[in-house]
Point group: C2
Chain length 254, copies 2
Amino acid sequence: MIKAIILGFGNVGQHLYHAFSKTSKIDVIQIYNRSQINFSEGFQTNFTTEITQLKEADIYIIAVPDDTIKVLSETLSFKNKLVVHTSGSVPISYLSDNNKKGVFYPLQTFSKNAEVDFKTIPICIEANNKEDLESLKQLGLLISENVQEINSKEREQLHLSAVFVNNFVNYLYQVGSDLLMDNSLSFDLLKPLIIETAKKLESLNPENSQTGPAKRNDLKTIENHLHLLEGSPYKELYHKLTISIQEKYNGKKL
Amino acid sequence: MIKAIILGFGNVGQHLYHAFSKTSKIDVIQIYNRSQINFSEGFQTNFTTEITQLKEADIYIIAVPDDTIKVLSETLSFKNKLVVHTSGSVPISYLSDNNKKGVFYPLQTFSKNAEVDFKTIPICIEANNKEDLESLKQLGLLISENVQEINSKEREQLHLSAVFVNNFVNYLYQVGSDLLMDNSLSFDLLKPLIIETAKKLESLNPENSQTGPAKRNDLKTIENHLHLLEGSPYKELYHKLTISIQEKYNGKKL
């Protein structure tokens, strides 16, 4: 039985808590959060807003905003325990030297009200010695089939890539939605296309999946689209993405 | 039984053919293509490369590149038949006046070797009279549960939106893949995130799904990402998308 304490109960903390709750081999013995939380009735896990009141556990999992990880880790009053953070973009070295350091980064997007299945989520782990790495691997395998050793430099690149395929992609969904709304059309029309675009990667790489006016250098359609976007905040974005695609696939320097 | 002829046997033509083949209520009696096609053994449907040799059918479905639709429709030697095209960006008016005009636009991305399930694909139909519209609706409902009446102006906007959520999104997958490859990391790491980002739209709209450094105005992470992208062709794209997200959600003019 692994005794764990989760520090920070935002999106990541809550999703980890629920994932851990599904296995009998992990006991989340306490949750810390800076501010009080309104738990639903029947919630049993010990909760504290006092960082000095932390219990003794096998692992302390920090799931607070990136810019508060360092300070929080330095505030912990105990020593030589395994303390990990869950961030994609913060190096392991930011954690305080008072404790054994690690990273337990689930590479996924977490939102309130959207349950996720951890089984396929890559859990990217890092530690400064073999023993801690093994502990993190064991913990990860209890909730996911996909545990990967990723160092801080690699994780930084991974996080940057994730910004492109998640944050920026979601923003393009927003653009599609806005363009349809402006014309009283339902965003639902695009949803099958959006799902298929993602699913296609199971059988084709992005290069082979790429279609559209920019890829085939269809200047007439591109011109018409830019005309339709006259006055729209998205015109420049269309232009920039089109040029980038033309450069990538057609070797064009425009 | 609806007798159909498909003109043009590229991606769209082939996927439509396979979808039609699954119902006994549509008989594709002939396929026309400008150039010869290497059919697999046992392929039974009549095939011609001679536009003058077309048989008599209830509907002629043009699935050729956008810029050849007009000319092909003018080449047809018969009159007063229902002739439709399958393009998102070509107005119905481009079809020749010699025949009854229509549009039968399946809003999906089609690639070789990636089978698609037509059931949920929006089939966007347009015609110049009620009778033809009804015919197209019946045809559409034989392969999809989602047939929508969309006029040329709406379809143009729909196609533009589809470019954002398919072509541009796929390109961002390409960027993610390139960034990982440059660091000897596998693109497979991002696939669960990509699927979840798309699936999330079932329960959340894009605005509520938006996360990341640009949305939360995390300048430190943005700066670090731009630093990581120094010398990369994707730096400008990161910058442009970040600014656009900040403007959209945080009302920033940078």
